[in-house]
């Protein structure tokens, strides 16, 4: 196994018959995925992540750019010779083959002897928790089991890179959780390089070593989950990662002033001057306890509670500050004394303020 390098790969689709729909294009993407790394492409539907995955697989021809695995340029290598494996959104098992024949399919194509490939298939089925299911047909399995078989089929051939195109999106939430744990365990066990496509933030955050956020055919930002969440480089990235608290304003003369002037506080000199957006993560907005003096390194905001919702052990509140609605998290204890319509003060530590252009 070696690293996967995507060098300025791009793809322009032909114009559809309806001239009003602009043709989709994948802007040049450059990316290096290290050996044994779990890398996710995260983005909304239609942003080009599956196109990029298919380009890497060789199922689509790139207009420009190169793909390298280690020292080998595989751009012109047909998909059947790349020694990659792929798990799709649907399991796409062959219905006329038994489970173990499905799993052994890749090995059969690699001309591995029948005895050996069936033994390998059974062993891999055991790894995915399907020991004894080998002689069944795909229609005798549940959706989750079918996707486990698809995973076993992909892993058994010892691929250079495992490509996964939203493999759990068709499963129900509890099964999805179970499959994520299984995939995470197996990926670490086999040290396989994974390029994973998803639109599910939680999934990407839970599984990935690094994440690439995509939007409208462009790779916007690459980084570790925490870096992306705490330091998004653009509003688009912030918005897709669920950071809705975005306040439009301007940095001038060492202060940030929002468009409606409800936010006005000093900022560090290092913050670039000019129009910008303040991004506030919900968990950094803290309820101010009565009579508590604001710390020097915090800013204080006053607002009215518009909404209060219970959310898995904590409360999500929506506070109106000026014309802006800010989401923030409260513990159950904090939320006990709060009611909708109440005026409250909140504090945000200055180190948690994040500005994007």
């Amino acid at each position: 196994m070696s690293s996967l390098r995507i060098i300025n790969i791009e793809k322009q689709y032909q114009q559809t018959q309806r001239k009003s729909d602009p043709a989709f294009s994948l802007q040049p993407v450059g990316l290096t995925i290290n050996e044994g790394e779990f890398f996710s492409l995260l983005g909304p539907s239609g942003c080009g992540k599956t196109t990029l995955l298919k380009l890497v697989a060789g199922l689509l021809q790139a207009d420009n750019g190169e793909i390298w695995v280690g020292d080998a340029n595989i751009t012109a290598v047909p998909p059947e010779d790349r020694r990659f494996a792929m798990v799709f959104q649907q399991s796409l098992l062959f219905p006329h083959m038994t489970v173990e024949d499905n799993v052994a399919f890749g090995l059969k194509m690699q001309k591995v002897g029948k005895k050996q490939r069936l033994a390998d298939a059974r062993e891999m089925l055991e790894h995915v928790g399907l020991k004894g299911f080998g002689l069944r047909f795909p229609d005798e399995l549940s959706g989750g089991q079918q996707q486990r078989v698809a995973l076993a089929r992909a892993l058994v051939a010892n691929p250079q890179v495992l490509l996964m195109d939203e493999p759990f999106s068709a499963l129900d939430p509890s099964l999805r959780e179970e499959m994520r744990e299984l995939l995470s365990r197996i990926q670490k066990q086999f040290r396989v390089t994974v390029l994973f496509v998803t639109h599910d933030r939680e999934e990407a955050f839970q599984l990935s070593d690094r994440i690439g956020v995509m939007s409208e055919g462009t790779l916007l930002q690459v980084g570790k989950a925490r870096d992306l969440y705490e330091r998004p480089e653009s509003r688009k990235v912030a918005s897709f990662l669920g950071l809705k608290n975005s306040v439009e304003g301007i940095v001038a003369a060492g202060r940030f002033i929002s468009a409606d002037r409800s936010f006005d506080f000093p900022v560090e000199e290092t913050i670039e001057r000019g129009p910008c957006h303040l991004i506030l993560r919900p968990e950094v907005v803290q309820l101010k306890i009565l009579k508590e003096d604001p710390l020097e390194d915090s800013i204080q905001l006053s607002g009215v509670i518009q909404q209060l919702r219970f959310n898995y052990g904590f409360y999500t509140g929506t506070i109106q500050v000026g014309i802006y609605l800010l989401d923030c998290s409260f513990t159950s204890q904090q939320a006990e004394g709060l009611v909708v319509g109440q005026e409250i003060d909140v504090l945000v530590n200055k180190k948690d303020l994040w500005f994007v252009a």
């Binding site: 060789g58 059947e80 494996a85 799709f88 006329h96 399919f105």
Partner: protein, 294 residues
Amino acid sequence: MWQKTKPYLLLLPAVGTIVLLFFGGLFDGLLKSLGYFPAIGETRFELTAYTDLLRSSEFWESLFLTLRVAALSSVIAGVLGAAVAISLYLLNESAKSGTTQVWHRLFQLPLTIPHLVGGYIIVLLFMQSGFLSKILATIGFIDEIPDFPVLVNDPFGWGIILTYAWKEAPFVSLMIYPVLSRIHRSWRDVSRVFGAGNWSFIREIVLPVMLPAWTIATFIVFVFTFSAFEVPFLLGVTYPSMLPVYSYQLYTSGTLADRPEALAVNILLAILTILLGLVVYYFSKRWNVLKGWD
């Protein structure tokens, strides 16, 4: 009550006609093959026609010829039809233009031509003084027209086989194509990623998937060829003739007393067809190749 029975009553004339003509004819044939023929004063039931038939060498030669012609016709039509269907499927997968539709229509063309006309086309093309032999003689591939092999009105039945192979191949492809079109488009991607080239994809996925439909289609061609009359009558020889022609010869050229034998041939044809149908049904159930669909 009237609303419920109305559709059945409306269907009654059509159903009645079919029952009367088809089952009536079959039943009348069965009675006459058993010797019940009041027109010539025979009102007893006996198996004489069958025993005479089974003892005659003409019947057995005719039966073997019929089996050979039907088997070769259906196998050639089956192979051609499968090749056409797979080609159309692959063409459809790779090209998204209207070219596929043109090829579809072109391959379906023989379906629109009646069997008798198809047989006549084969005569014009393949007889020794036909179109093909003249072309081959003109370009010097053969010295003179009689050097062209006898393919029409030949004792082996090549003319009949050629006609049915040409005429029924589109039928087989038409039966298979809907099954192939159910093959998930992404299966091609899956198989490619896992290392399957075009031929491996056809061998591992396409052929097993289309096998049940292919078997049924080929069997239908076999049964049709086995009991068809007009093409063997036009392109066959007087002796040995295929069973339907043999039956016709017995029915028309002999006396009224030969008719039970002619009808016994038809009854035996029907019985053999049913038996073959049961065999194919048994195997298609046993293979269970449709397992996992839907």
